[in-house]
Point group: C2
Chain length 578, copies 2
């Protein structure tokens, strides 16, 4: 992981690659690297689909090692959805494989000539860039099938579906999992559209013949990793709830809290919640011969992912994540797991962010195009995207654009990106993160649910404004640091509650790199990342006015608590004062 692979897709005579030293980016990984590179190298007022934008793909600092949970990859660019800087973070196999291949980052630059499509092949012998016309407009599952026939199923792919090729603003980059299925996605912010603009259909990575990365101090590293795994296994969330039910364990919890946004954020409880709960999903999967407890990448000890099968035991999709279950379920008034799993599959297949898709369908329902609760209608709307119809292109452009085109006022978006599965009127802390995150509305940027609802790292009353700023600030700082390590964000539950588990993470970093980081050093890294992102966004034209929720969250009360978002503008403007 000491080199950067740059590919100029617009070079005269076809794509040209070069391999560079890390240079000014030495010591950075994951989000710290993608954001530093975008901030340093991309003109903030550039068009996200233009030659000036770059797509940076970076494993984390501990990816490619034996450290448990280190398989997250960061994808950075200027976002076509938000117009600001973007880091979309995903599981799957790519981080481990790319790190073992020795690349701290792949950087796609320039623009391929209109209509040209390429595949990039990376293995221990080097890099090849070849035309990929045979893959044009293939959905991700079909693409992977074709690739399997040629390259086998031991490789790892990062690919775009038709949505990315059409440069739709809500398109994702799919990443294959351990079963070589394109189920994990760098989903948010339209990173797939940028890959599409670069003319890259798929990056095929093969780590055959390569070993895990070696720490500077193997003994200390092994010891720390042992404590690390013990810590994760002993915490209730990472050791019990997530393995058993996956992220869908949250359906009943958030519904109970009154913050489960229902029918385009009109109420905070869904009468059909229990039908789509994590318990119900696990039960269906177990009964039908699916699998509720499964990891999305090698080295995962939490095992929150799963496999959803139909009544005949045939694979439908991965177990939908909580945010997907909410987006295609409660937010659309749909209480049917089979429909939700099918929508999850379609999103993955066409290469779309499930959150913005659920929100966009909610907007279409609000506009009267289909009715709330219309299962078949929702499925058809996503299929329209696969067909490339105009309706499909509107939906595939995300909730903010769909609301504009359909003339709908109530669009639950911040900086153009759809809000996830937590209503900020009932869970005020997450509203602070939605409003102020550099990413647009994003629960993962500072997951206040942990403390507001799950009572990890203490408790801050979700219905009051007090304490939310500090909570969101600290979580945003910690998250920016975690996103740089390659660690799965779900480690946060354990490190918030167990100082020794946090110390084990720091010890791993120190043992691997020969550093002497402490908690302050980790926080300093997080702040540095956020500052670079804020600075880019400022130059791109973002101001305090963009660090706000849509107006109706301040004026329309959400049942059952009948609360509005109460954190003041002045408080919001203090999040990044540290």
């Amino acid at each position: 992981m000491d080199k950067i692979l740059r590919i100029d897709m617009g070079a005269a005579g076809g794509p040209k690659m070069k391999v560079e030293d890390l240079g000014q980016y030495a010591g950075l990984g994951g989000r710290a690297l993608t954001s530093a590179m975008i901030a340093a190298e991309v003109e903030p007022t550039a068009n996200p689909l233009g030659a000036e934008n770059k797509l940076v793909i970076a494993p984390g600092l501990l990816s490619g090692t034996v450290a448990a949970m280190s398989g997250r990859i960061s994808v950075g660019c200027k976002s076509p959805l938000t117009g600001g800087i973007k880091e979309a973070n995903s599981g799957g196999q790519a981080a481990q494989v790319l790190a073992k291949l020795g690349y701290a980052a792949i950087v796609l630059e320039g623009l391929a000539p209109e209509g040209k499509l390429y595949k990039i092949l990376i293995n221990k012998d080097g890099v090849k860039i070849e035309p990929a016309d045979e893959y044009k407009m293939l959905p991700n599952y079909d693409l992977i099938d074709k690739i399997k026939g040629v390259y086998g199923d031991k490789v790892t792919c990062m690919s775009i579906g038709p949505a990315g090729e059409m440069k739709l603003s809500a398109s994702s980059i799919a990443i294959t999992d351990m079963e070589f299925r394109p189920t994990r996605h760098a989903g948010r912010g339209g990173v797939g559209a940028v890959m599409g603009a670069k003319g890259v259909k798929v990056i095929i990575m093969d780590d055959a013949g390569l070993k895990n990365r070696e720490p500077k101090d193997p003994e200390k590293f092994r010891e720390a990793n042992k404590k690390w795994v013990e810590g994760l296994r002993s915490h209730a969330v990472t050791g019990q709830a997530l393995p058993a039910y996956g992220t869908n364990v949250l359906v009943n919890i958030i519904n109970e809290s009154g913050g489960f946004p229902t029918r385009n954020f009109k109420t905070g409880q869904f009468e059909g919640a229990s039908a789509i709960s994590g318990e119900t999903f696990a039960d269906i999967e177990t009964k039908r011969g699916g699998n509720p407890t499964h990891g999305c990448h090698r080295g995962c000890v939490i095992q929150c992912s799963g496999t959803y099968v139909d009544k005949n035991g045939k694979f439908v999709s991965k177990q939908p994540e909580y945010e997907t279950t909410w987006a295609h379920g409660a937010n659309c008034g749909i209480d049917d797991p089979d429909t939700i799993a099918m929508l999850d599959f379609l999103d993955d297949n066409y290469g779309l962010d499930t959150i913005d898709m659920g929100a966009a369908i909610g907007i279409a329902m609000e506009a009267g195009i289909i009715k709330f609760g219309d299962k078949e209608g929702a499925i058809n709307l996503i299929k329209e995207i696969g067909k490339g119809t105009y309706l499909g292109k509107i939906i595939g452009s995300g909730a903010a654009i769909a609301a504009k085109v359909f003339g709908v006022e109530r669009a639950p978006v911040v900086k153009g990106q759809a809000m996830p599965a937590y209503d900020p009127r009932a869970i005020q802390g997450i509203g602070v993160t939605y409003a102020t995150s550099t990413m647009g509305a994003d629960h993962t940027a500072g997951y206040c649910i942990a403390t507001n609802i799950l009572k990890c790292g203490g408790f801050v009353d979700p219905l009051k404004s007090e304490g939310q700023i500090e909570l969101s600030r600290n979580l945003q700082i910690a998250t920016a640091a975690i996103d740089s390590t390659g660690m799965c964000l779900f480690i946060a539950f354990a490190i918030l509650d167990q100082p020794e588990t946090f110390q084990a993470l720091v010890d791993m970093l120190n043992a691997f790199y020969g550093l002497s980081l402490d908690a302050d050093g980790v926080a300093a890294l997080g702040k540095k990342v956020l500052s670079a992102e804020r600075d880019f966004n400022k130059k791109a034209g973002f101001t305090a006015a963009h660090d706000r929720l849509p107006r109706y969250f301040y004026t329309d009360k959400l049942p059952p608590h009948n609360k509005v978002f109460e954190v003041t503008d002045k408080e919001l403007d203090s999040v990044f004062n540290w």
Copy 2:
């Protein structure tokens, strides 16, 4: 003109009106009034389609008097297209009639319940607000026909077509002309969508039994108006070119300059220019029995409008304005006047901004949906809007949204609004106005063409950056003042060149209101208007980064001059330093 009519469309039990004194707005008219009111009363982060937005309709300070050219009306709101403050300015009969009715402004507030549609009737006896379900989704010409049957053709209407009812971001408000045709439009920024959100289909105004407004000093006023008319008639642009050929006189001139944006701003000259020139249009109109010399409102002495008829002498549309001829002509590679006139009619009929429509069709052509030059295809695209199809909704949302949905990088927009008919790479002064105007890309906000090309008020070389900032600054200040008087902007040619004509305007204002304004006072008014607008936009989230042209104007050279836009960011940021 000493009262304000406010109608709360969302009042319990149905719309409620009240008539107020001018209060804090005393002494303001037109744009000065609309912008002051929006800045003072509308939450800058409000959703433009929400209850917090207001639609303010205000005649100018001299409207309703015998002053020549005083028939312009201002329509203000927070724009659904730009997200900033908006003043869309139009001719037609409304300004004169509303002023004679005594209203300095009509203010539409709140939101009618979903699905409700109203008409507002105003005459000397008062105001009535009635349901207008019978007008639902009627195009403007059909609507006016129905209204004629009930109210006669001596009334004046401001109405929205299907585009406004669908709340599309590029929808206009139509204003009837002297022949009771809905040919004049408050076109830019989606003001029609705001009227649609308010649930108002049409405002029917009747000035029967009312006299012109009386000046404080009738003698001085009459004398000044006489000099005013003489000045306008003696200037080559307002006395000869505009009467003879209308605004289309510019086709050959701008094409010759190399700044006539062709095929979505790819080149600066169009091989089909002479086929769509003002000379050609006038010739066709004369031969077929149309009329190339005609006024759009009572009291016009420039007579730049006209009537376009088909081969059988049957009315097709008003004579398309230069920007329309460009938008639907050169920008789409179309060189056929009949097609352009039909597109002009369709835009007017459905209630759409012709500039954003031509730009959006150019984007659709760039995306390969139809080919450049496809006349029938262009007509069908606008008809799609009338049908309310998804493709139609995308196009009707304007060029910026269309580019997003179609994945097109090269969108000629600033602050979400399409650039008009002058390429800023060949005419650098207008680029300064496009970039920095509070309105988004807008030629009328500071018409540097006057000095860059027509050599009115001196000459500043259009191909150099020198002098453009000062030119645009001064014109933006002057325009903001003129837009407040109700005067047609075309008076600018004469007042730039003839000090005595400018003095006549000032004398009219002073004689009418008993003031003692001088040139400095006029400039101070313009600065005050711009400052209020800039302040609103700042609070709405606009920064220096928004005062820029799209990146490709800085990187892609425009033939035939092979120039990029050369005014620096630093210079742009100095426009409002006065």
